[in-house]
Symmetry: C2
Subunit: 493 residues, 2 copies
Amino acid sequence: MMTNNKHVLCVEQSEQTEMSSVLQVNPRVRAIRAPTRLQSVAARITQQIAQGANKPFKKVIDVSSDDPHRMGMAPISFVRQVLAVCLYPELLEEKTLPLDVRQRAKRLLGVCGGGSVGSYSTATSGLPLVKKSIADFITKRDNGVSSHPENIIISNGSQKTLSLVLHLMASGTGVTQTGVLTPVPSPHTLPMLIDLSGVKLVPYQLKEEAGWAVELEELQQALATARGDCEPRAIYISNPGNPTGHVQDRKTMERVIRFAAAEGLVLLAEEVNQDSVYGQGKEFISYKKVLFEMGKKYAEKVELISLHSISTAPMGECGLRGGYMEVLNIDPAVYKYLRNIQLTSSPPVISQLALEVMVNPPTPGDLSYKTYAQEILHTQTMLSQNAQRACEFLNGLPGINCEPAMAGVFLFPRLHLPLKLVEEAEMLGLEADVFYCQKLLEEEGVCLGAGCENGQDDQNHHIRLCVLAPPDTLEEVLARLRSFHLRLLYRFP
Amino acid sequence: MMTNNKHVLCVEQSEQTEMSSVLQVNPRVRAIRAPTRLQSVAARITQQIAQGANKPFKKVIDVSSDDPHRMGMAPISFVRQVLAVCLYPELLEEKTLPLDVRQRAKRLLGVCGGGSVGSYSTATSGLPLVKKSIADFITKRDNGVSSHPENIIISNGSQKTLSLVLHLMASGTGVTQTGVLTPVPSPHTLPMLIDLSGVKLVPYQLKEEAGWAVELEELQQALATARGDCEPRAIYISNPGNPTGHVQDRKTMERVIRFAAAEGLVLLAEEVNQDSVYGQGKEFISYKKVLFEMGKKYAEKVELISLHSISTAPMGECGLRGGYMEVLNIDPAVYKYLRNIQLTSSPPVISQLALEVMVNPPTPGDLSYKTYAQEILHTQTMLSQNAQRACEFLNGLPGINCEPAMAGVFLFPRLHLPLKLVEEAEMLGLEADVFYCQKLLEEEGVCLGAGCENGQDDQNHHIRLCVLAPPDTLEEVLARLRSFHLRLLYRFP
């Protein structure tokens, strides 16, 4: 029975079918860590419900990913109006659409090949107008630290952008293999991406009791341990942190920059949560700004790649697939290779136009400004309130401890699981946090993320929870989670 | 002077700046063949004109790529109407849009997470409804040879799809490195893609004088030569051929299938031109259909991956980035790895919906059918007439010989270049066909593709010309090409 269950429950593996064709699969692909089965279990349950199966819940609520529209968040009207007109230019004459929507669409269409979003934009690593708008946005955001369109590369999402960079840097094997210092916890999609790119993941632990801050000693220790094992050549920073919600202060950032400079590491700054900081007294400062304010010694030396995306709050346009990177102080010959990779894949034009609207939104006086500002404020307020509400709720449950988030869309609470439960999970061949999430999914129809997907080791159990959802959905999630959690503690006293 | 010119004109190289950081670039990335500079020269000239530079032409016409909207071809209205409504669902109430447009959009929105195209579709390698429509389309197309949604993987364009597969297959080094038999000429984006994936390109020559047919002896010879040099594990077929316009007959396809079966090669069938066959008496037959009609021995054995895309004629939606592959007879354990790669990158939802409309268009009786059918017919007729017109025109010029195309959007004529011109190109460090195209671009503002980009060797000069353009644009291209060509022959007698 147990053994049977194991096959149902455990992480997918295929050791039983090592046929020759499998052995011929790219070793990098074979080395990708197996995904947890949570998403497919969720899909299976959803299908069962559709086929009339009797469950104690009406539908599965998936809060494991930063996928706000899926959870019922509305898109920003101005973005969608402009894109709709770009797709179907006959709407340029549609008087029920605001004039500034149509003017923007007309301008954007004017820079598409043949005036159509159906043309490639391969040759230029993104539409020049969009790159210009991005550079202007960055310059303004950083109080005048100037940004140049030629340093911007547009891609389809920050994950894809990062995978271009990792692919560029991947070289060597064994002790010469490129290593990337990676936070624990990291964004949950990052470990698979690093595996696939053939780069070695060098973990550094964030300090949970300090609200998930980066600590210099931990970076130094991680680097020292890694050397001799691989060749660490970059450090990945997620700020504001995914999934931690931590916002770094200037002092910490200066320390990180000095560390990267001293150790010759490329600084990969994932800054996609820059527009969703809500913690009291917290503000987003870009790594680029800090770098430039530290003077030429750093500003002209540290190799910095900063990532942003249209997938994050408040826009949440994950399905459009759009993002960009700004690249600084990279050897021009290396940069050329990056653009060569880019030549083999052209980002969707629609998502580039969405990027343009994100970085260049309506301003006071524009017809659409009021609605736009209201929608943004609505999302930001809801996010902030939800994060606070959920954090307090979780901290009220026995055996759960949640650091308050200051930004971003996730909470990442710690589970203090009963030893017996951990042992049962072990017997089933599962991480205890995966076991917890799977049981929750089966019994209550709530899909959380398991902390191990964020790189947490198996002594240290966490769950991941996106709080950017309509408040009633969040309440439903919390209520179901509470029922399950208390029941579980009763079962495993 | 000459040396100076060389730096201006020649293919970009960087041998002068081999700094340590360049040496640390992924060797696969460094191994990507350098792109010709034609596109960037075209962009530079366009910019010069915008800045008021005096040129003998008003604008650059780029016919080097299969990018029909850029050249002025209109999108299919039904596709764009549906997508516009999906982006901005308030248009569901817009009575000026046909009812079937709004019904389709409503149905498609119903399968998007949270009813929004802004949600990820990562978990399922594409939206299930879209995969079902694709499978139904294939089944109908192949007269009942059944297709199953679980064998469909959606990706952002056929290039991306292919790069997933190549990445999966890439393994070994030296004599154990995976090799892929690749036609010469091949689609012009293919060689860079193969380089980047770390797979070895094993060329097989198509027979120009037989209208670019595949010949079995050539395949056998290419394979025999490659063995001992690498481990050939797949054969790439472009049918209908890009850039050749050749349409394979059933006998040839049977031969290719028997060859792949006997040699244990995966059959990579790029069939993106399946909807643009116009040659007298020619028809598209899918590799899958032929495979199944050859009986179980082949139908259940040969590993077949077939690619299709929304970028090709008649839709030409390159900028949306959408395509799919159907995967047959692949070891389930290997297939699982393919899906793991896919998990790291979610295709744009908008392009998936465009795919759905492509494979499931309006039918007789639907409100939009008449317009849809007219638009498709218009494009197909224009393509056929343009191809014939351009072929006759080119064959009328001295030193140009063009095989008639039967399908697809390209012509691929041969240039018989004067020896002196070839020598001058050589002195400039350029392929002669690149030199020809660059001169044409500078003197007449027409950007053609150089045959070497399609893998043609330097003894064998060709140009590539997309003929899917409004007829007056095509006439303009032909007239400018004629002036230049005759002038060139006069200069190099």
